[in-house]
Symmetry: C2
């Protein structure tokens, strides 16, 4: 997120992040499940290749100066090294507590246990390192989208502190969740990510063009990822987890 | 590349790799130039953040078992560690010399000196770590596409050894290059990658759909990356470098 905090700016960030998530999932779907990447070989101190990769990648990203912003949240925050390169300070528009709000444990479990079986084909082509790298990209994009919820919450709070403050003081999680839920908006988001998967996941050929066939109308079976998986991902996990972030942030907003 | 070596299989791999390159460039284009990521700070042993990141990322990828296949070529191959996890052996369909054929130095120079100024906007938003990570993804996708040229060369050689062998023995680089060049195919590839950029780089909204507007027809100025950059990238660099790989491979094919 940039300097100005406004609902349109936050919404733009969320919409742009959808593209990154769709791209990352399409790339991961290129490879089959590759279960050995998720198993614990004796050699690796009880860690799967996927976990090893994410931990080490986060160390590298931290050295490079990542994880300074509240929307960039590591999955393994303990013992991350400090940046080795100069970083630019970002405008502090959120409550200082924002940095410690994280639902990455839930994202991790969801991704490996629920999502991977939904959008990868069963199989093992031996490309385990590539698999882990693509998994990291998916996790990173989803985590970023979900933790932008901190800005959503701040904007909404600033817009109507009189509505939020009593609920925050009463720690009324359920009422806060209701106040943050807009079913009609959520339906639109689901439709849009499904459409993005359909358009970004199609096989582009020059021939279709000359026949005047409209892009994005290829059968879903030809799509590199089932568009309904995107709709489901947002419906069951991305939007609920974003709201969990919003509520968690709001509950300490008055501290 | 998989088990079977056939021209259709190799072509499919090249076409699929186009999507990865377009996705990676669109993602990088999200951030401005961010020149400090390419400058040498005193702290980092004379290395820019971008170089530091790529070197360290390649170490991690090597530990995870990457760089076993002839199309996966590191930019900094010296002193890469061995895999820490079990790897699957891949079918050896190429001449053993294949692994050492690399044009990564040329890709590196082209990317940082020529390409980045073409597709990123001037500016500095401070996201240097993210910049370096996205650069690594672009480099990796382009390098992979270009080094699949080894398989292209092998398939073409196997298909017509009588045409290639005399030229290889005569070390006739120019004649080999001519034999590998199909202008009509190259024009098609350029048009296709441009079309992919136009379709994958558009801003998808639900509204356009209801108005019956055809996807991919938005003005290029609204596109996340100028589609002509993709056409130029392939014309000036990706296809010529792929043919350099093919020639370099063929020149030692009879050793």
């Amino acid at each position: 997120m940039g300097e100005e905090l406004s609902l349109p700016a936050v919404r733009d960030a969320l919409v742009r992040e959808e593209d990154s998530i769709v791209f990352a999932l399409i790339e991961r779907a290129r490879l089959p499940r590759n279960a050995p990447a998720y198993e614990d070989p004796a050699a690796a101190a009880g860690r799967s290749l996927a976990e090893f990769f994410v931990r080490e990648a986060e160390v590298l990203h931290a050295k490079a100066g990542h994880y300074q912003k509240p929307e960039d949240v590591p999955f393994f925050p303990r013992d991350l090294p400090p940046p080795m390169f100069p970083t630019k300070s970002y405008p502090k528009v959120l409550h200082p507590f924002a940095s410690s709000v994280s639902v990455n444990d839930a994202i991790w479990k969801m991704y490996f246990n629920e999502l991977i079986p939904l959008f990868t084909v069963d199989g093992d082509d031996g490309n385990y390192a590539e698999t882990a790298a693509l998994d990291f990209a998916c996790l990173k994009a989803m985590s970023r989208r979900i933790h932008i919820g901190k800005y959503v919450a701040e904007v909404k709070f600033k817009d109507a502190p009189q509505d939020y403050s009593p609920l925050i003081r009463a720690k009324d999680t359920k009422a806060l969740m209701n106040l943050l839920t807009f079913k009609a908006v959520e339906e639109k988001v689901k439709k849009r990510v499904e459409k993005k998967a359909r358009i970004f996941g199609q096989n582009i050929t020059l021939e279709e063009d000359s026949a005047g066939k409209q892009e994005g109308n290829a059968g879903d079976s030809e799509c590199k990822i089932d568009p309904e998986v995107l709709s489901k991902l947002y419906d069951h996990w991305v939007m609920p987890l974003t709201k969990d972030v919003e509520v968690e942030y709001l509950l300490r907003r008055l501290d």
